[in-house]
Amino acid sequence: MLTPDEVRYIANLARLNLTEEEVQKYSEQLSSILNYVEILKEIDTENVKPIAQITGLSNVKRKDSVSSQKLSEELIKCTPQGIEQNQVKVKSVF
């Protein structure tokens, strides 16, 4: 069961502002989903390794070289913030 306080704590970690109504709603909905996933406790995974890369690739490398200088400038232009000396200007951190 996820309490409203836990929901507020998670929302802060996730950088979301929730209304009191949303806190209530997510508390109920997430609890019901978490309750459902308890079904996995039926499975013995004692000596099972977790999987993340499903086709078994590992350490795929490529040359660390610049392929498109122009694109980086265009990407910086996508910012809704200000740009100064080809850098994104953000508000103060504190």
């Binding site: 996820l2 836990e6 929901v7 998670i10 929302a11 970690l13 996730a14 950088r15 979301l16 502002n17 929730l18 949303e22 997510y26 909905q29 997430l30 019901s32 989903i33 978490l34 459902y36 996933v37 079904i39 996995l40 039926e42 499975i43 995974t45 099972v48 390794k49 977790p50 999987i51 993340a52 890369q53 499903i54 086709t55 690739l57 795929v60 490529r62 694109l71 265009e74 990407l75 232009k77 996508c78 910012t79 809704p80 913030q81 994104v88 953000v90 508000k91 103060s92 951190v93 504190f94």
Partner: protein, 486 residues
């Protein structure tokens, strides 16, 4: 002309019976006629498309199978200079400065991009109802959903608003809408097609694939988009077979497994009957049918949602109001952290917020082992089960959705009910294997014909076999030829 398949249009273009301009124009007129009812498109590129068509006509080279073929792109594929929203408010005005690899490949192959089609927000959903911008309707019954998340793609194909469309499949998002709208949909093996430039939902699951009018067309598109890409390190350096030729071989002696765990209590009786009838048809065509068991199936939804929501929460972290997309104008946002929170709160819809909350919780300190790690271990067992079953049989035939296309608004208030709809599609993404959705018949509800598809599943990189089974089935049936009345 808009009813043509890729293969048919290609033959006519090559023989100069029609021009790319005429074909594109015909499809654009069709879009104008049916779009008020269907609402599949978010962005239409009418002028661009006609210009592209004219250019190709001038060159007159139609040797490539996709040259001059009009296509709709799910709005999660970056298209250079064209708005790409992910159906999310947070990217409402985002115009990417680059093309996704697959879009670039289609352009190089001469395909004509008609526009961008609707999806659930960042592909999170099974009905296309979580889109921030439009509610796409099922062309077979406009009071029902087209499925999702590639609902815009499926509806556009079914309503002949394009010759084919691109979709994405993280847990069924190509196959389920294909089934709901009666089109063919190919979920490729993880790593078969590059995802560079396509918005991520759950990176260890996401795959790219086409929705088409026939299995043959799916083979043609796959040939054009598959292959290794240095920009997507998860693509596998394996030769791309000549799928469109290999599918011509018959299926005599093909071993088809029927997983009994997909025929459970709760499956719609018409879905079950249509699936069983399709399997009988395969048998009559010379396939050998064998019942098999995949007991982990009942754990798929729980495993899938734990892993996928966790990955989603990390992928959504990039939307911060700084790099691109929406940023808050709220004067209360004074510090950087406020900008993040305000921008995200204003920009994300309900389902995306729920995914972020769920994923952040299961990845947070103290819960990781109980949820994420546990599910990642169960995933190993699911994969093992499929590895073993494909030692016995060549492919599997199974239902796609336990339910018929449901009414708009029917499931939106109950997320768990919506998740359970994905019970038969998510195991395939857990195992990273491939699956092809094909039309298998029609159910009836309130005197309305509602499409039902089945999925043919193959082992990793077994696209050739499932496409062959699908194509051969379509040579012997006419479900895929039937059209909705709009």
């Amino acid at each position: 002309m808009y009813e043509l398949t890729i293969a048919q249009a290609h033959a006519k273009l090559q023989a100069k019976e029609i021009s790319a301009y005429e074909l594109t124009k015909a499809v654009l007129e069709r879009i104008k006629a049916v779009e008020p009812q269907v609402e599949a498109y978010l962005t239409l590129l009418e002028e661009d498309a006609l210009k592209q068509a004219q250019k190709i006509d001038q060159k007159g080279d139609f040797n490539k199978p996709l040259a001059g073929i009009p296509v709709a792109i799910k709005d999660v594929y970056c298209t250079k200079g064209v708005k790409t929203t992910g159906a999310s408010k947070i990217l409402e005005n985002y115009v990417p400065p680059y093309d996704s690899t697959v879009v670039k490949k289609l352009k190089d192959a001469g395909a004509i991009i008609l526009g961008k089609v609707n999806t659930d927000e960042f592909t999170m959903g099974s009905s296309t109802e979580t889109s921030a911008f439009a509610t796409t309707k099922n062309p077979w019954d406009v009071t029902r959903v087209p499925g999702g998340s590639s609902g815009g793609s499926a509806a556009a194909v079914a309503a002949d608003e394009c010759l084919f469309a691109l979709g994405t499949d993280t847990g069924g998002s190509i196959r389920q809408p294909a089934s709901f709208c009666s089109c063919t949909g190919l979920k490729n093996t993880y790593g078969r097609v590059s995802r560079y430039g396509v918005m991520s939902y759950a990176s260890s699951f996401d795959t790219i694939g086409p929705l088409t009018k026939t299995a043959e067309d799916a083979a043609i598109v796959l040939e054009a988009i598959a292959g290794v890409d240095p920009k997507d390190a998860t693509t596998v350096d394996k030769k791309v077979p000549k799928y469109s030729q290999l599918i011509q071989n018959d299926i005599k002696g093909l071993k088809i497994g029927v997983p009994r765990d997909f025929f459970i209590k709760g499956i719609d009786s018409q879905v079950e009957k249509i699936t069983r009838d399709a399997i009988d048809k395969f048998q009559k065509m010379g396939a050998e049918i064998e019942e098999v068991s995949l007991p982990m199936t009942k754990y798929a939804i729980a495993t899938y949602y734990l892993l996928v929501k966790a990955e989603a929460s990390t992928n959504m972290a990039r939307y911060d109001g700084i790099k691109y997309g929406h940023t808050t104008q709220d004067p209360k946002a004074k510090e950087l952290a406020d900008i993040y929170a305000h921008s995200r709160t204003e920009g994300f819809g309900d389902e995306v917020k729920r995914a972020i909350m769920m994923g952040t919780y299961t990845l947070s300190a103290g819960y990781y082992d109980a949820y994420y790690l546990k599910a990642a271990k169960v995933r190993t067992l699911v994969k093992k089960e499929y590895d073993e079953v494909f030692e016995k049989v060549d492919v599997l035939a199974a239902p796609i959705s336990p339910v018929l296309p449901f009414k708009i608004g029917e499931n939106v208030e109950d997320p768990l009910a919506m998740y359970l709809v994905d019970a038969f599609t998510t195991p395939i993404n857990l195992a990273g294997i491939c699956g092809l959705a094909i039309p298998a018949g029609f159910a009836e509800e309130n005197a309305k014909k509602l499409p039902v598809g089945i999925q043919i599943l193959g082992p990793q990189f077994g696209e050739e076999t499932i496409l062959r089974a699908g194509h051969q089935f379509q040579l012997h049936t006419d479900y895929h030829l039937q059209k909705p009345v709009i």
